[in-house]
């Protein structure tokens, strides 16, 4: 029987079989950020342990850094500066590769890692951050871990992992106008629930995936964790190789030739069997919008807020009722047209150059609706520089968006900057949990273009009804 890409990546990194489906896996790359990396490094130090291969460990500042122009170590998160300074000191002491606040390689960890060629096809990469699965989009086997597991990886360059079941999610067909990778993954989660992927490593495959640019594949894999999956991966192809080539930490010369030759083998064999298969025809997907407090609480923008009374499962019904109360929404209300207070474009899900370009096409020669607070936070300093070089910053600011320094920013509320109490935000981020973006803030997840269209109209909008401005 043929092997899946997950089987291949697993066996290539297996140091020892520990029985019971558990393996000791070799970890090629470790990434840290100041929010959870700080405690892992400090704890390791307190135990007198050392980082085994510091040259293969990377660290950035993203989670609680200030994103207003001209920023320094000061942050609006109470005691946030301690996280930055602790991380900096520990990273220097351990000899890690640090992309500090004044470094133009700084940015959100999952944006930086493929951008710098640290995440590559075939590598195992872990980070104490749940969205590490993002870089599965480039053909890496990457997953989020806790701080203690990060310590284990740092000290031993390995992790003890129970092998997940395998799932293939095949997306086929041509994406309809206005529909993006974000809409694909929200649609999947809406249909199969936020726990639909629990216990699985997922390969995203099919003709739609093959046609997707690399940055869109990163968006798709980013939310594999919102599907409950251990991770998601897209098999590397020529597009991937073209994306990786020439990046600072990517192999060069003869090493490049050897690497690409190897990477070409990292595809599922035609007769490989997965434990579960899901097939989705993308022709039926419309721009998606969440209405509740779990990513599974979502629907097409042309739909209405659902009625919990129609939900047969009692637990889901309760969760829907709680969500609608929190979101202050009545069943039957059309999603399109719900007034908003704010719009946010950013996060490891949707803050790459292509996301900003697509949003800018909607915003060009248009204005954000009066009273709507609109913020754009590029995913990395490199994304910000590239966007400015092509004038995207001016399109955003002329439309009425704030243009920020890179970081995770208001994807989550850590005690600093937030949206207001009971404000309604349309956001290109990944989590619409209660209080996620601010105390009692109501979050609606959508694609960057849908966020841009909604910002212009001052209400949840169907981007397909706005003509793009070329």
């Amino acid at each position: 029987m043929g092997r899946t890409i997950i089987d291949k990546l697993w066996s290539e990194h297996r140091i020892a079989d520990l029985g019971d489906g558990t393996s000791l896996l070799y970890i090629d790359r470790i990434f840290l950020h100041e929010r959870t990396g700080s405690i892992a490094l400090k704890s390791l130090e307190d135990q007198g342990r050392h980082v085994r291969n510091p040259e293969q460990v990377f660290c950035t500042m993203d989670h609680i850094v200030d994103t207003t122009p001209g920023r320094g170590d000061a942050t609006r998160v109470p005691s946030g500066t301690d996280f930055i300074k602790t991380t900096r000191t520990a990273a220097h002491a351990a000899g890690l590769n640090l992309f500090d606040l004044d470094d133009d390689r700084q940015g959100i960890v999952h944006v930086v890692s493929p951008e710098q060629g640290i995440a590559m096809p075939g590598v195992t990469l872990v980070c104490p951050d749940s969205h590490t699965c993002t870089v599965g989009g480039i053909g890496a086997l990457a997953w989020g871990v806790g701080s203690t597991e990060a310590e284990h990886a740092l000290a031993t360059k390995t992790l003890v992992v129970k092998r997940p079941a395998t799932m293939r999610v095949s997306f086929d067909g041509q994406l309809p106008y206005g529909v993006t990778a974000k809409d694909m993954i929200l649609h999947l989660i809406g249909k199969y629930t936020a726990s639909g992927g629990v216990g699985y490593a997922i390969e995203f495959a099919g003709t739609t995936i093959t046609a997707l640019p690399i940055e869109a594949r990163l968006t798709l894999c980013n939310m594999a964790v919102e599907f409950g999956a251990w991770t998601g991966v897209v098999a590397p192809d020529d597009k991937t190789f073209e994306y990786v080539k020439g990046r600072p930490y990517a192999p060069k010369g003869e090493a490049w030739d050897r690497a690409t030759e190897h990477w070409k083998s990292l595809v599922s064999d035609s007769d490989a069997e997965f434990d579960r298969e899901i097939a989705i025809d993308v022709a039926n997907i419309v721009p998606q919008m969440t209405w509740g407090t779990s990513p599974q609480h979502e629907a097409g923008i042309d739909q209405r807020v659902p009625d919990p009374r129609n939900e047969p499962d009692a637990n889901r019904r309760l969760s829907m009722e709680r969500a609608l109360e929190y979101m202050n929404l009545e069943p039957g209300t059309p999603l399109e047209g719900i007034p908003i207070d704010a719009a946010f474009i950013g996060s490891c899900t949707n803050s790459r150059l292509s996301d900003l370009r697509n949003a800018a096409k909607v915003l060009k020669d248009r204005k954000v609706a009066p009273g709507v607070k609109a913020i754009c936070v590029p995913g990395s300093s490199q994304v910000k520089l590239a966007a400015e070089a092509e004038g995207l910053d001016r399109i955003f600011t002329e439309a009425g968006f704030e243009w920020r320094e890179s970081g995770c920013s208001m994807c989550f509320f850590a005690g600093g900057e937030s949206f207001g109490v009971e404000e309604r935000v349309v956001t290109s981020t990944n989590r619409n949990f209660e209080n996620r973006q601010g105390p009692r803030t109501r979050s609606h997840l959508a694609s960057p273009t849908t966020v841009a269209a909604s910002a212009v109209l001052g209400k949840l909008a169907d981007v397909r009804k706005l003509e793009p401005q070329e």
């Binding site: 140091i15 558990t22 405690i39 005691s79 602790t86 749940s130 806790g146 360059k157 936020a194």
Partner: protein, 206 residues
């Protein structure tokens, strides 16, 4: 790490699905670079009446007797989904929770539990609901026994339910092992792997 063998304790039912780690401990409650001092922030968004405040909401299960002394938490599917923050487990453990019983878990949260002396038990949804029903209907019968040696949960009515757990996680919890110590015994194998791998995938070695 604290060992886990057997525990007979008060169990608090919190049967919501998809309880995320942001709900278990909001990011705003993570104020220091430390694994300690987090229990005050546990379920802060639900436990207190105001965001950031400390006035208790009497409707929340862990604010009611006898559940203030609960050491076991019953929950709905996908408990601990979302953010990888290990602070969720540290907060639960510091508050006093030693075991959770739910139909499924967020994967990272599950792994974090076993590394902090907290036993995550998987039982099917009907069984978890039955346990919660017995506790709710007869508050005198709120004790559940979790036995990691036998891999069983004893309901208040005495009925025994078996559960499965990976042998590596089980051993780590039973013995209170430090996972790094265990792995470092395989140092020769790791070195040998690196030597072989360096020839096979030289571009990995920076």
């Amino acid at each position: 790490m604290e060992k886990f063998t057997r525990l007979k304790a008060i169990a608090a039912p919190l049967l919501r699905i998809n309880i995320d780690t942001d709900a278990i401990i909001p990011s705003r409650e993570i104020k220091r670079v430390s694994k300690l001092g987090l229990s005050d922030g546990l379920f802060a968004g639900w436990r207190y009446t105001e965001p950031g405040g400390r006035a208790e909401d009497p409707g929340f299960i862990l604010n009611r007797d006898p559940f203030r002394q609960a050491q076991i938490l019953l929950s709905g599917l996908n408990f601990g989904c979302g953010s990888s923050r290990e602070h969720a487990v540290w907060a639960l453990a510091e508050w006093g929770i030693r075991s959770i019983i739910a139909p499924s878990y967020g994967g990272i949260f599950y792994a974090n539990c076993a590394r902090n002396g907290v036993l995550p038990v998987i039982l099917d949804n009907d069984t978890v609901e039955e346990l919660a029903r017995q506790i709710s209907e007869n508050p005198e019968q709120h004790l559940i026994e979790v036995d990691l040696v036998e891999r069983t949960v004893t309901a208040p009515d005495g009925v025994l339910h078996s559960f499965e757990i990976g042998s590596a996680d089980r051993e780590m919890l039973l013995e209170g092992l430090d996972a790094i110590d265990v792995t470092q015994k395989r140092d020769d194998e790791i070195l040998a792997f690196q030597s072989r791998d360096r020839l096979r995938r030289p571009w990995i070695y920076l």
